[in-house]
Each structure stands twice: as C-alpha cells, then as structure tokens.
Symmetry: C2
C-alpha cells in the first residue's frame, strides 16, 4: 500500500487544495486530534460521499486542553493513523506542528457564547475557545467546501456551527452520527485510558442516556429522569457524573420535557483516567 | 453620472466577487463606517493601484461602540458617500443592515490580545473586539485579495494585521498613510463634531506629535517628550488628553527612546464632542 500523502505546512496544504479546486473538485476537511478509530473513519467516508477529495488533519491542539488535562499523554500515533486514513480513501493528511499553528506572538481567540456555556464548557473552562480558534484556523488554511465533525462531541458541533454562521465562514458543517461498540460504548480515543474493569462499567453511560431518552418520549420530566440516571451511573461504578442534561438539539437551551422539538440527552462522567462523554437524540 | 452599484446582502456581494474572480480579476476591500472624506478615498485609490476592482463597505458597526459612545449620532449619509466612491473609481458598495450582519442568536467574538491593550483599548473596553469581529466577517463575506485600512487608526491596523496572521485569513492587509488638512489635522469623520473654536485648537494635536517625534530623533527620552506634549495640549485648549505614548511600530510595545527601530507616537484627546486620535512615524 502506498503511504498517505502528508503535508505539514499551510502553504503546502493550500497548494494542494488549490490544484484540486482548479480541476473542479470539491474538497472536504476532517479535523482530528489523531488516535483514530472507526468514528473518525466514518467522517472520512461521509466526506467521500459529499466531495471528491478528503483532507484529514491531525493536530493535538494545546489551547483546547486545560492545565490539568491530558495534553501531554494524549495518544500520538501518526504512522498508524495515516495507514487507517489511506485505507479509508483519504486523499491527504495535514499534520502541522504546534509552531506552524501558533507562531510566536499568537494572540487571537475566537469565543462563542451561549452554546459553549454549561455542559462541558462548565467543566473545561477555555476548552471551546480553543476548539473554535483552531477550527477557524483549519478552515481558513484549507478552505474546504465542507468540514465534518462527529456528533459524539455534540456541544463542540454546536459551537462550530454557530461560529461558522456568525463569522460567515464559507464552509458547510456536517455532523456525523456516533459510532458505537457492540455494547453501546461510544468510540473515543480516550477509551484506551480505561482498565478492563472500567471498560466493563463504561457502557452504562449509553444505557442510561437511552433510558432518559425513552422516558422523555413516554412523557416523563427531564429532571426526574436525569437525577435517576446519575444515581444509576454511580451505582454502576462511575465515581462521579459531571452532568446529565436534556437540551434543545438546535440551541442547547435546557429542556424540561419532550414537546415534539428535537432534544439531546447529553452526559459526561469520569471513570478512572478517562472522562467519557456521550449523547442521544430524542426526536 | 451613473449611480454606484450597491448590494446589501452577503449573498449578492459574494456573487459579484465570484464573477470578477472567474474573469481573473483581483479584488480589494475598503471597509468603512461611511461619512467619507478624502482619507477614505485615498484607500479606494490605493486599492485601484493594487487590484482590478475595489469594493467599499459602509457599515456603522454597533458592537465596536461603547454604551456611552456616539453610535446613534454617528453621521450616516449613504447617498453622498456613494457619489464620492463612484467618482473615486470604486466598483461596488456593500452596505448591509445590522440584521444582515448580526442575525438573531449571534454569539461569536474575535479577540486579539496584546496589541489591543492600552492606548484606545484602555479607554474603549470591547472596542477592538468589535472591530476584529466585524472585519473578520467582512473579509469572509467578500473574500477579497487585499483589504485597505487607514493608518490614522494605527492600533486598529495592528489589531487587524495580528488577527489576519493568527487566523490564517487569506487576505493581504495594506495600511495607507494618513491624509491631513493643510494645517495638519488628520481627516476624520468625527471632525464634524468640532465647533469652529475647537477646530482652531485641533491642529495642536499633530503639532505636538511632530514635536515628540523630532525630540525622539534628537535623542530625548519618550517620557519627557510625552509629558511635555500633554501639558502643551491642555495649554492649547484640549480639556483632557487620553494618552500620548511612544510605541514600537511593529508590536506596539512601549518604547523609552528611539534606537533605530521604527516607532509610532500615538495620542488621543477629547475636544468638545469629539475624541481625536492621531499618530506619526519615527523612522
């Protein structure tokens, strides 16, 4: 198998994309932090359905990690990732250095209010500023026709949609459904932090989200369902639950009941060295 | 004379720019708040030297005004402005409404640290966030090859240069020298707020900036020169001086003396209903 074509500077990236554009080809961008799994490859596959070329980026973005988070230990495995991307039909890997992305004197932040507040925004101050800033940079560097993001990071997807709308960035944002293990656990690069015992506990998160979703559809109040889900998660072996909430799927405004408008049940919980997040739709 | 072609939506703007691009033409953007004077027209002229088409925007941007500033009374005279632009050779006027620029739910802010701090950033909290945000939007809406800004708003120019660099916005930023009245007063839309008596006092600002610049070249310390200039301005009839400072022309870092690296002497002072700003180079 031929190695995946890889560039490390925005100048090279732009040059490749420009050449494709001149040939009338549509370009999709899949931004990732590497440590790829089938969830990421689903983004590439969705990109190939909508565009002629798919660029994947791998960049572990320092400015979206808090001081006590896992930036240093976040898994880095570029060669293995490149092989997976090549097999999935990806056209180009963009893997810039931190110095290429944030040269000396870097001083700009993109902040999205509203959708970035609460949920993971409360537990991870500054996280969504870091996400919005790096995604706006990646979009400006690549200038793709569309960019794809996983729905597992549902709040992140909403932050990016809002930013792209507000800043008039000429890129279509596409959300791609969560890919799960057979037992329901949402795929995540951080699942590898789990011990076998913790891995056995982890699927309870999805089970409880489904229970809340089913309860909402049956007419039960969100507060009651979420309190019960939190207690069940602790009972199942999660040491603590960051949040379990029901939100409007479009605006992330808190919702008390299902009244026909699409909702999302969203939760985050710590388990050993991992912080797991997941969500399910109520439609 | 034919009226200047005018569009009010970003969709129309993009359509025009796309057509020019398809014909291989280079496009320049001149963002303004209207109330045009010869300083703005110098931006259009500089744009025509570097591009085939010049788009001028007129948008009095609410988010860059503080609650006690002159947003409501800022002069609006689109028909007169359009006539001036047409005469200067401008190709298109983009004059969006506030609702077109900031639709319901707008929630994103672009912040540039460092160069936005101190000087006007201290006196006008949030001002440069509003400037950076609207300029990033105008650039994304128009997607010009270059954009031109007057050096009178020197700190603003530095904020925009930094933002464009940091967010990888593919637009060349061009600063255009200040245009002055015969007596040295920098042209400004806000000069019309001055009474005849205030207008007679106003040129003292430029005279004092020149004195500081000449003193720096002669080896005098910045602190001494600026203190003296402030006192002279009050003596000349300025009720108060917001600041008079010497800064590195590239980074806006405070400078104590001229050591060969380019500096800017920058000042702001209130006079009647106006807040005048001006600056001169030391090279």
């Amino acid at each position: 198998m031929t190695a995946l074509d890889t560039v490390r500077t925005k100048a090279e990236l732009r040059d490749r994309v420009r050449r494709w554009r001149n040939e009338g080809e549509r370009v999709a961008l899949v931004p990732t932090m590497g440590a790829l799994h089938r969830g990421h490859l689903a983004l590439v596959e969705a990109g190939l359905k909508r565009a002629d070329k798919v660029v994947a980026s791998i960049f572990v973005n320092p400015i979206q990690f808090g001081p006590n988070e896992d930036f240093a230990k976040y898994p880095r495995q570029e060669a293995a990732d490149a092989a997976l991307l090549a097999k999935a039909g990806c056209s180009l890997l963009y893997a810039p250095t931190v110095a290429e992305m944030y040269p000396d004197g870097f001083a700009t932040t993109v902040t999205v209010r509203g959708v970035s507040e609460g949920l993971c925004g409360a537990a991870r101050p500054g996280h969504f500023d870091g996400v919005a800033t790096v995604v706006s940079k990646l979009m400006a560097q690549c200038q793709p026709d569309l960019a794809l993001f996983g729905e597992k990071d549902f709040q992140q997807l909403k932050v990016i949609e809002r930013m792209v709308l507000d800043l008039d960035i000429p890129v279509e944002v596409v959300g791609v459904p969560i890919v799960r293990e057979e037992d329901g656990l949402a795929l995540s690069s951080r699942n590898r932090y789990l011990t076998p015992a913790e891995r056995a506990v982890a699927p309870a998160l999805y089970r409880q989200l489904r229970r809340v979703a089913d309860g909402l559809t049956a007419g039960t109040a969100a507060a009651e369902l979420c309190a019960s889900a939190g207690a069940e998660l602790v009972g199942a072996g999660f040491p603590s639950v960051d949040y379990c909430e029901v939100r409007d799927a479009a605006t992330l405004a808190p919702a008390t009941r299902f009244d026909g408008r699409p909702l999302r049940v969203i939760a985050a919980a710590r388990l050993g060295g991992a912080r797991l997040i997941d969500n399910v739709a109520v439609e």
